[in-house]
């Protein structure tokens, strides 16, 4: 009875007054920590085990770039370029007198076009933007027959 009483007291007082208590406590703690380690690995596995998406190449045989043949790239660019005048007008209308915000707003429209196109064509968003970059660099004609403007408006963060 006395032993039971001592054990109960040790429970509530969290006493580790003997070497036995100490070793038992350390062992249990070690087991709990090791088991937690297993849990950490299991929990993180869905995040750590997934393979990264494959890279695209700058140039491949038969005029393929970024995994896309040239006609497809030109179609994509033409569609993006066709949407640009309306995006510019939307930017100006949204933020009159604020050039950076107008350009930023245009880019928000461009993003919507690019995302929709990526889904529709079953390609990656990166591929869409790579094609846009190629078209601008190569001065492919836009809807009005002129190349797209290659510059942007310098940064001017909002203050309100």
């Amino acid at each position: 009875m006395r032993a039971l009483s001592d054990a109960l007291a040790a429970w509530t007082e969290a006493e580790r007054a003997t070497r036995t208590h100490l070793v038992a406590w350390a062992t249990a703690s070690l087991i709990a920590t090791l088991y937690a380690g297993v849990w950490v690995v299991r929990t993180a596995r869905p995040i750590t085990s997934e393979p990264a998406p494959a890279a695209v190449l700058d140039s491949e045989p038969n005029g393929v770039r970024f995994g896309l043949p040239e006609p497809t790239r030109k179609e994509i660019f033409a569609e993006l370029a066709a949407a640009e005048p309306a995006a510019r007008a939307g930017g100006v209308a949204g933020f009159p007198g604020l050039p950076w915000s107008q350009e930023d707003h245009r880019c928000a429209f461009e993003r919507e076009t690019a995302r929709a196109m990526a889904i529709r064509r079953g390609v990656s968003l990166t591929q869409i933007y790579l094609v846009l970059d190629e078209g601008i660099r190569e001065k492919w004609p836009g809807a009005d027959g002129k190349p797209l403007h290659p510059k942007t408006v310098p940064l001017l963060p909002r203050r309100k």
């Binding site: 429970w11 003997t18 070497r19 937690a36 849990w39 990166t126 790579l130 290659p150 963060p157």
Partner: protein, 605 residues
């Protein structure tokens, strides 16, 4: 707050093992936020997630691919400072996860790590303030998974996850009043916040420390004088040591960042005032019906925090902190409003949206709730004693250990029931099933060049070895209007008849060029000028904001290097401080080992 916790409860041993708690925290994250574990390479929809991903990816590429420190980020805005950017997180410890697993999975693992740290920190803080294990577990789980963190995870603001370290700083302060290692630990946690780009976290935490310093100093000056209590100035000393350690450890980021902040102060002309109802809605409303951040903890946690304050001194102190931060969260509702006055101070003046103080309200409300739940545990043995006193005429002695344990167990069951009820409601309303819906960016193997870009999908560019000229930054970094996304050569002579320029090697911080100049001429680099760019031939200067290089006639192998002196100085200070801390740590470990051996020798099997 000064005194160590004394109350022993039946539930104490259940969660005493760190491993058991870690399992519990992981289970809680998996239960409430399964979205975190799906599609690790995908991104959340919100553009700020893309912004941070882009910066971290640029830093990872600079380190992993080019073996350089990301002092300069050429992948955004036409080139801006990297580590010195206030929002950069290169030196944060969790950046190693991004470096090893890639930015997408690394960010998820960082969230997981910080979730667990936040829950454990809140648990320990509640225990330090004499809460029982059951209440502290509830506090840890609710704070760590509160609406604030769910919200900032949706937005991609990993740097706001440094708020998960706030309870550790509070804990380090309270322990640090008596312990040197804890003071250093507190400094390390704040340094982590700085290195993570915790632009809100650090000022909020410093404010919390100031309040804690005032409260504990008052407690020491006005409370009873005892031998086991430290001197009255111990809290102030702790505050100073934490500050010095954090500044020295984070000097590698702090020094170059301060220069950026001084040169390009973040000007914020807007104010914000919230009603009491709006702030309450952010704490208890689900889904959050108003714009901005919420810190959902639920109505029961707030109610429990009030109860805790009624029956416990520590509960009252914690409630006082909750009220202070609540008043700050109300914003600039008057000229004398706490936040309006706070905004007049140097660093605080650059902060927007005072309603974000609700994360601090959430923390202290959770700790207060833990104290309240613990009172349920405490009351049962007392009831047992009252029953014994009422039924036994003589002698009116103490309860036997077994009876005390039985009543304690009953109290624990009661507390656990309450905690589970609160948790169930909270977890149901906090559930996040889907979050990551955006395509993973794809790498492109090719030479770097600037592109017109688009900041709304900023995650795309660095991985594709492109720079996005179109960008957004909170800091108004100088940006040239002459940058172009269709340059045939990224480094070119100003007049093609005066020189020929061939790129020999390109890295983010170092560009090697072969230049054949027929006359003294200028070579233009399609990046923004910064004074830290150095050259081995000629001189660098700004031309229309572009990085320009004046070259004498002749054939030259020119190496342009970005060298930030403040970054180097800061790096030296950080390394020396960490070494000193390591030496102190070894000394402390030896002392503890010696103490353990002495104890071991003093006890029997």
């Amino acid at each position: 707050m000064i005194d160590e916790p004394r109350t022993r409860r039946f539930s104490d041993p259940f969660f005493a093992f760190f491993g058991v708690r870690v399992i519990l925290w992981l289970w809680a994250v998996r239960t409430v936020c399964p979205a975190l574990f799906e599609n690790p390479f995908k991104l959340a929809h919100y553009h700020d997630e893309h912004f941070y991903f882009a910066h971290e990816d640029a830093a990872r590429i600079t380190i992993a691919q080019f073996k350089q420190l990301p002092a300069w980020n050429p992948y955004y805005c036409g080139g801006i400072p990297g580590i010195a950017n206030p929002q950069d997180s290169t030196f944060a410890p969790e950046f190693l996860l991004k470096l090893w697993y890639g930015v997408g999975p690394g960010r998820r693992l960082a969230y997981l790590l910080l979730f667990v740290l936040g829950m454990e920190g809140c648990y320990r803080l509640a225990r330090r303030l004499d809460a029982g294990a059951v209440g502290a577990i509830l506090a840890g789980a609710v704070f760590g998974l509160s609406g604030f963190f769910m919200d900032v995870m949706r937005l991609g603001w990993l740097n706001f996850f440094s708020f998960q370290l706030v309870p550790w700083v509070a804990l380090a302060f309270l322990h640090g009043i008596r312990s040197w290692p804890w003071r250093v630990g507190g400094g390390l946690f704040i340094a982590w916040m700085v290195l993570q780009g915790g632009l809100y976290t650090v000022p909020y935490t410093v404010l919390m420390l100031m309040l804690l310093t005032a409260m504990t100093t008052g407690e020491l000056l006005l409370g009873p004088r005892r031998d086991d209590r430290p001197r009255w100035f111990a809290p102030l000393l702790t505050f100073v040591v934490i500050g010095v350690v954090s500044a020295c450890v984070s000097a590698v980021k702090l020094l170059p960042m301060l220069k950026v902040i001084i040169d390009h102060p973040r000007i914020w002309e807007g104010g914000e005032a919230q009603t009491l109802a709006e702030i309450m809605t952010r704490m208890v409303g689900r889904p959050p019906p108003i714009e901005g951040q919420n810190a959902f903890v639920g109505q029961f946690v707030l109610a429990l925090a009030l109860l805790g304050a009624t029956f416990d001194k520590n509960g009252a102190r914690v409630l006082a902190l909750t009220v202070v931060f609540f008043c700050l969260a109300l914003g600039d509702y008057a000229d004398w409003a706490p936040n309006t006055l706070l905004h007049k101070l140097p660093v605080f003046g650059q902060l927007r949206f005072p309603h974000r103080f609700i994360v601090m309200v959430a923390l202290f409300a959770c700790v207060g709730a833990a104290i309240a739940v613990s009172k349920l545990e405490d009351v049962m043995p007392r009831i047992g004693q009252v029953l014994r006193d009422a039924t036994v005429i003589r002698p009116l002695g103490e309860l036997s250990p077994a009876a005390r344990l039985a009543f304690g167990a009953f109290g624990t069951i009661l507390a656990a029931k309450v905690a589970l009820y609160v948790w169930d409601g909270f977890a149901k309303d906090s559930y996040v099933e889907t979050l990551y819906v955006m395509d993973a960016p794809i790498a492109r193997a090719g030479e770097f060049h600037q592109s017109r870009g688009n900041r709304w999908d900023a995650q795309v560019w660095a991985r594709a070895s492109l720079g996005s000229l179109q960008c957004f930054e909170e800091t108004e970094f100088p940006m040239s209007a002459a940058l172009t996304g269709d340059a045939k050569q990224e480094e070119r002579p100003i007049d093609p008849n005066h020189a020929k320029v061939v790129r020999e090697k390109w890295t983010p911080n170092e560009i090697t060029l072969q230049v054949k100049a027929y006359v003294t001429t200028t070579v233009l680099v399609n990046q923004n000028y910064h004074r830290a760019w150095r050259t081995n031939v000629g001189t660098t200067y700004a031309r229309d904001g572009l990085l320009a290089l004046q070259v004498p006639p002749g054939e030259h192998r020119i190496v342009l290097r970005y060298r930030d002196r403040l970054l180097r100085t800061g790096l030296g200070i950080s390394v020396v401080t960490l070494l000193a801390i390591a030496v102190l740590g070894v000394r402390e470990a030896r002392l503890r080992l010696r103490a353990f051996r002495a104890r071991w020798a003093a006890i029997r099997w």
